[in-house]
Symmetry: C2
DNA sequence: GTCATTCTAAAATGCACATTCAAAAACAGA
DNA sequence: TCTGTTTTTGAATGTGCATTTTAGAATGAC
């Protein structure tokens, strides 16, 4: 018994999300959000309360759909440590030059820690940490984790590496070097190897 | 043959820098900068051209004085890898709760890559990378680097870790866990050790 | 002391922004 | 078809911002 909304919520959230990822919360105006969502300012306020409300909804959407989707696609439980590596490598392959940016990393820096919305930052990091820890612990069980590796420590390391990579990618650092780094780090996690260096390294 | 400036340039830059570190470029208004520097808006414009000009000068000051000072204090060439570790540990000990933030990391995220000022981000990262690489290469020479470690790869890893830690610190993550991570990473770099796990780990 | 020059102070300008308002339009139920 | 409710729209509002301007104060050179 009332006029129904004429827009598609997921696509509105997706548009807003993209704008926020690219330009940050402060860098996006209501005007920009009109273009990004297709909604007029009035409708935005009617539907989401205010700019912060839309940001909040977009962030929730990001954690659920984008982050969750990436995990499901690249690093499902069955994919083990190798799936985690794929997830990391994908960070260096954002669609052509179009650096979307990670809403978690970017908001961790931009937002004030005692804002309401900051909880999404913490949630996102918790999700990542738990996925890392879960896969590493499972790998430890089935023997595919290098012996002697502490899963909690390794998960912490992966979380830091993840955030750091996103900063460096956004800064335009050489992505090939970063890919080599990821390859090396996961090689260290996955395979059993002692530290005895190759002969030429000893003699050099 | 003219009126001299009545302010102390380093302290003006230091004040502005602190404001920008805490709240970001967009988060600081000219009004805020008046308080942070002690200068009136007119003087700021007279001396630095505009807000971006002051930011530029403050960023240069950051790279030279703050970043350079930290390297000299914690990780001079003589301190080797151990000095690098001290530098990293210091990231988790910013003055009481007062998270100043790193202007390089924060600006890498907030600024647009094709702005003039972004060069300071690149310069800062280059400085860090070169310091890391230099200390690691020296350690390789004198045998204090774990055999088989590639200095370039390790320096890349440290750069990513450095940026990632700053993101996580700003996000309010448990700093003790992060310190354990740093300790473990540097342990891996410094000491010779094979990967043979302790007995209890094999049997578990 | 006077002059030229540069700095400071304070108000003024104009713009972009987030937000609100009021009117019109679109639907659901009767 | 009529009614009530909600969405949409486009204009209006007011605030905060970066920046400019203007007038006055301070200094060095002579």
């Amino acid at each position: 018994m009332s006029r129904p909304r004429s827009y598609d919520e997921p696509s509105v959230l997706s548009g807003a999300m993209q704008a926020f990822r690219r330009d940050g919360y402060r860098g996006v105006s209501i005007r920009d959000l009109e273009d990004a969502t297709g909604l007029k300012a009035g409708s935005i306020y009617n539907s989401f309360g205010d700019k912060a409300g839309l940001f909040d909804a977009a962030f929730e959407h990001y954690n659920k759909v984008v982050l969750g989707g990436r995990v499901d696609r690249f690093a499902p439980a069955a994919a083990g440590i190798s799936g985690l590596r794929d997830l990391f490598i994908s960070l260096m392959h954002e669609p052509n030059g179009e650096s979307h940016g990670c809403l978690i990393t970017n908001s961790a820096i931009e937002l004030d820690r005692d804002e309401q919305t900051y909880r999404h930052v913490c949630t996102g990091m918790d999700i990542l940490f738990e996925v890392f820890l879960n896969r590493l612990a499972a790998a430890q069980q089935d023997g595919s984790l290098r012996a002697g590796t502490d899963p909690v420590l390794a998960a912490t390391k992966l979380l830091a590496l993840y955030q750091g990579l996103l900063v460096l990618v956004r800064a335009g650092r050489d992505t090939q070097a970063l890919e080599r780094l990821v390859a090396a780090e996961f090689h260290e996690l996955e395979t059993y190897h002692d530290a005895r260096p190759a002969q030429q390294d000893i003699q050099a």
